[in-house]
């Protein structure tokens, strides 16, 4: 598998009825490729949280999942408001979600921590007023990081 197999999705902003569909589709695709179930689970969780963040905060965005030889790479890109303080946003329990969004069960402040926990590397590039780009790598056969 020298070529990267890439799945690309447009994520709609503020659409909570179809939120998570890209992640569900990725999971299905990875299953068909015969990827091990623990890796699929980590990719699913990491991608879902990123997808939901784009729906809630960024007015949507683009998600790209690349199936590489040793790992799966998820790239999430949006032109939303950006993250002012990444360190604060990474803290478990911190959320800027509205009450309406919270009433749907979101806004627990566990999105970014869950993404970090389930990926082997994660980089966040964000500029307020311009947008956010997150790259996560998930190695095959890895395990979720404990204590994150």
């Amino acid at each position: 598998m020298s070529d990267r197999l890439i799945f690309r999705f447009d994520v709609e902003g503020d659409d909570f009825t179809s939120a998570g569909q890209a992640s569900v589709q990725v999971k299905k695709n990875l299953r068909q490729l015969g990827i091990d179930s623990e890796t699929i689970r980590r990719v699913s969780i990491a991608m879902y949280e990123g997808e939901i963040n784009m729906v809630i905060h960024a007015g949507g965005g683009v998600a790209e999942v690349a199936v590489c030889e040793d790992y799966i790479e998820i790239v999430l890109e949006d032109t939303g408001p950006g993250i002012k303080d990444i360190e604060q946003a990474m803290q478990a329990g911190y959320s800027t979600a509205s009450d309406t969004v919270r009433s749907l069960g979101f806004g627990a402040g566990m999105g970014l921590p869950n993404m970090k926990k389930n990926s082997d590397s994660m980089t966040i590039d964000s500029t307020p007023g311009v947008g956010t780009r997150i790259v996560m790598k998930i190695m095959y056969g890895g395990k979720a990081n404990e204590g994150v």
Partner: protein
């Protein structure tokens, strides 16, 4: 234990059961979706009072064996249609999450 046997043994209402043969192992209680996403384990019964469409996506991605809606919470037609399509089992009970957890504790270990 399969979801079908679990539902019958404890008398939970079956709202939809597209995958009755799914095996149950353990349980997780929670209503905050990201919390469930991060903490629930594969094949868990997920006890919750949250019954919007997003619970189906979380159950699918976290690989829970079934959703057990507690406190008499019901699911609307759209939710059940989506759950059936995605292979997500949904049961319900009038018990609180705590009461339901106590009731099933020995069976789901």
């Amino acid at each position: 234990m399969t979801v079908e046997r679990f539902a019958n043994e404890f008398g939970f209402d079956i709202l939809c059961m597209p995958a009755p043969e799914k095996e149950i192992s353990g349980a997780y209680i929670g209503d905050l979706l990201s919390w469930v996403m991060g903490k629930a384990e594969q094949s868990n019964v997920w006890l919750t009072i949250m019954s919007n469409i997003n619970t189906v996506a979380v159950a699918t991605l976290a690989d829970t064996s079934c959703i057990l809606l507690c406190e008499g919470v019901r699911a609307d037609g759209e939710l059940l249609r989506t759950a059936s399509e995605k292979g997500v089992n949904i049961l319900s009970t009038d018990l609180t999450s705590f009461e339901a957890a106590v009731k099933i504790k020995d069976a789901v270990r």
